[in-house]
């Protein structure tokens, strides 16, 4: 305890206490990666918190300047490694915008299917790891059982389970394998049954409610002020979803709800993921039904040079709104690639909301924000 700083002070119970610094992370079981929170603690109560990130910084934006446009596509699935198939979407949309490429309809549908499946797996991972932070190991296996089914489906399509480099400039890498569609429909039934099991086991549990209800509430003004997006914003009562509000790809052809919850506490942030998973399953079912034939990739030259210019594109990724700013100077390599990652902006709210929470509540708070360090550090 070498670094006790402040002098002793009296707390409300009249005990003499002393503040100390607790470095939560970068190696800690529940920081979900190499995130570090520098906490000043008074006993088990957080006095102030500070984000320390960058342990996973790989300089991806710098790397992009040395690669061609399509060479960089696989790297984009390395950012948010929990949603590897969904990640490159904003980037490829930017390229298509720069190059004026028209994506075949079948490719758009396949993108929606894989993207939504990936969102399901990512949300299942989030709820699973959140309950794991409350040591509900059994519930965790239930959610992972469901996630396993999704990953098997994605593996059959993309060939890998984590870093699914599948969306490419002009379409997707490969067509859906033969006989995959009926298999997927059957698997979705199983996934929804597993999700129901998980929901029943955890969501109404008195202990779980006690640990999440009313913890670190974020109202909609604060959420917008701090740039929260995605499920975290929708849990705070602001129903913004790019898939519905400014549809990209073929999202305007599906019938789905955008769930909104209003308390913005940890429980809402948890439960909105369960609700969204159900909606995503709905979308996948519709997309599988409507799936047209035809090409799955537009013709794109091997050495591809878009016109000079810039594109700023946004998609609704698994962790929030993700944007790419791609600048081209007319050569085969991007002049600048910038990525607005949702996790990076979402953690900005931590220093504001952490003071006053106990260490246990702080853990549930950061778990409910659902950040991925690959997405933050890039």
């Amino acid at each position: 305890m070498g670094d006790n700083l402040d002098g002793a002070n009296l707390n409300s119970d009249g005990f003499e206490t002393q503040e100390f610094i607790l470095n939560l992370g970068p190696q800690h079981p529940s920081t979900h990666g190499v995130y570090r929170a520098r906490l000043i603690m008074d006993g088990e109560t957080v006095v102030s918190a500070e984000n320390k990130v960058g342990y996973l910084h790989r300089g991806m934006e710098k790397m992009a300047e040395g690669l061609t446009f399509s060479q960089f596509t696989p790297y984009t699935s390395r950012f948010d490694y929990c949603a590897g198939a969904l990640q490159p979407w904003a980037y490829v949309i930017a390229l298509e915008k720069l190059g004026g490429i028209v994506v075949p309809e079948r490719a758009e549908y396949i993108r929606v299917i894989t993207g939504e499946l990936n969102r399901i797996s990512s949300h299942l991972l989030m709820v699973a790891s959140m309950v794991l932070d409350f040591s509900a190991i059994t519930a965790w296996t239930y959610a992972f059982n469901a996630r396993e089914g999704v990953l098997d489906l994605l593996e059959a399509v993309t060939g890998s389970r984590l870093l699914m480099h599948y969306m490419v400039n002009g379409g997707v890498w490969a067509d859906l394998p033969e006989g995959w569609v009926p298999k997927a429909e059957a698997e979705l039934d199983r996934i929804i049954a597993r999700l129901d099991d998980f929901d029943m086991l955890v969501s109404g549990n008195e202990i779980f409610l006690g640990r999440t209800k009313g913890i670190a509430p974020i109202n909609s003004e604060e959420a917008i002020e701090f740039g929260l997006t995605g499920a975290n914003l929708r849990a705070s009562g602001r129903g913004l979803d790019l898939r519905r509000d400014s549809p990209y790809s073929v999202y305007d052809r599906f019938d789905f709800e955008v769930p909104v919850l209003h308390n913005g506490d940890c429980w809402d942030r948890y439960y909105i993921r369960i609700m969204e998973t159900r909606e995503s399953i709905k979308i996948v079912r519709q997309a599988l039904k409507q799936l047209p034939g035809g090409d799955w990739r537009a013709k794109v030259a091997k050495v591809w040079k878009p016109a000079a210019g810039e594109a700023y594109t946004m998609i609704e990724a698994a962790r929030g709104v993700q944007a790419y700013h791609v600048v081209s100077d007319g050569t085969a390599k991007p002049y600048r690639v910038h990525m607005r990652s949702p996790s990076f902006c979402n953690i900005g709210v931590i220093p504001e909301k952490a003071p006053g929470l106990t260490l246990q509540d702080f853990i549930s708070f950061i778990a409910s924000l659902d950040f991925v360090l690959g997405d933050i550090d890039r």
């Binding site: 305890m1 079981p29 409350f134 040591s135 239930y142």
Partner: protein
């Protein structure tokens, strides 16, 4: 089996009965010799138990979690724990440079000492109670409290913030939950009229106390989970908050000792529950010690079932639950029990 055990016991007694005269040992030496025999027996029982318990827990957890669990080493994976223990023994002993050396080293030893002591008090069956004490239950509770000190020593001695916070939580938790546990036991003591564990077990020959004292049983089970620091009360080693709580800095054999102590306590606490509420070693057909072990293991499985189902409760809610709910209920239960006993004596026993 009973005959065999009795024969062995008689044999040992025979040998030792001759020994004082032939070896001209004084009486205190006899006592020390016997103590040694009991100690070795308790240690062997403890090790076998821990190995079995870890295997049972892992297989049961596998069952609850839709997976297989360890099934590769030995038949049904029974030797997995042996394998793990050997692996742990071979690991490096790491001690933080700034640790409090003595405290850090003594803590794991103390945990095992406490566990062995408790094994010596349990009535495994008629004639196989290592130490019969007329204040057995009191002694049992007192010894089990010593665990708190060991955990606090480990937390303090490690000089690690996570360890310290884990240790502090343990003290708060275990000390608080000892109160409802003791209160739930007092009802049993009133009914049986004895503090001797063997006597309590024998007094249930007609009806188990779990049927007379259901509330006390529920309180006992909850407090036992808290005393054992099992989920939903696993605050002390909440790995998601404190990495591993008080044993964060321990490795190798010292970590193994903590681990053994934990499972040994699980057995002794469940055995205490069996003695208090399920009639101890009594039962038809099978030999008593089998009944005792069997009942204990069923009770342990029940505890594990709870453990693998629930989430971890919040610290403040846990304390509130104890002080504002469990203790008042336990006191009310005590009052009802006392009045009930008096009424029973006044009306029923007199009329008989």
């Amino acid at each position: 089996m009973t005959e065999f055990l009795t024969t062995v016991f008689n044999l040992i007694q025979g040998i030792l009965g001759v020994a004082p005269t032939t070896l001209a040992l004084a009486l205190p030496w006899m006592d020390i010799f016997w103590a040694f025999v009991y100690f070795v027996g308790a240690v062997i029982l403890l090790i076998i138990n821990v190995i079995m318990l870890i295997w049972i827990e892992r297989r049961a957890a596998g069952f609850f979690q839709e997976r297989v669990g360890p099934n590769r080493v030995g038949p049904f994976g029974l030797l997995q724990t042996v394998n793990d223990t050997i692996k742990l023994l071979g690991k490096e002993w790491i001690m933080p440079a700034s640790a409090d050396r003595m405290v850090f080293l003594i803590a794991p030893l103390l945990v095992v000492t406490v566990a062995v002591t408790m094994y010596g008090l349990l009535p495994y069956g008629p004639g196989i109670t290592p130490v019969t004490l007329n204040v057995g239950i009191l002694f049992f509770l007192a010894v089990s409290s010593t665990n708190t000190i060991a955990v606090l020593m480990a937390g303090w001695g490690s000089n690690n913030k996570y360890s310290l916070l884990g240790g502090m939580r343990t003290v708060a938790q275990i000390i608080s939950y000892e109160i409802p546990m003791a209160l739930s036991i007092i009802g049993i003591v009133m009914l049986s009229g004895s503090l001797d564990l063997g006597e309590i077990a024998r007094s249930q020959s007609h009806v188990w106390y779990v049927f007379i004292q259901p509330v006390a049983f529920v309180i006992f089970t909850i407090s036992a989970l808290a005393e054992l620091t099992k989920s939903p009360f696993d605050m002390t080693e909440a790995e998601q908050e404190f990495v591993a709580g008080y044993h964060t800095e321990y490795s190798g054999i010292r970590f193994t000792l903590f681990f053994m102590g934990e499972y040994a306590n699980l057995f002794s606490m469940a055995a205490l529950g069996v003695v208090l509420f399920f009639g101890g070693a009594s039962g038809p057909w099978l030999p008593p010690w089998m009944w005792f072990i069997g009942k204990t293991y069923v009770f342990i499985l029940f505890l594990l079932w709870i453990r693998w189902t629930f989430l971890r409760i919040r610290v403040d809610k846990m304390m509130k639950f104890n002080w504002k709910f469990l203790i008042p209920v336990a006191l009310a239960n005590l009052l009802v029990t006392g009045v009930g006993i008096k009424l029973w004596q006044h009306f029923v026993e007199r009329s008989i």
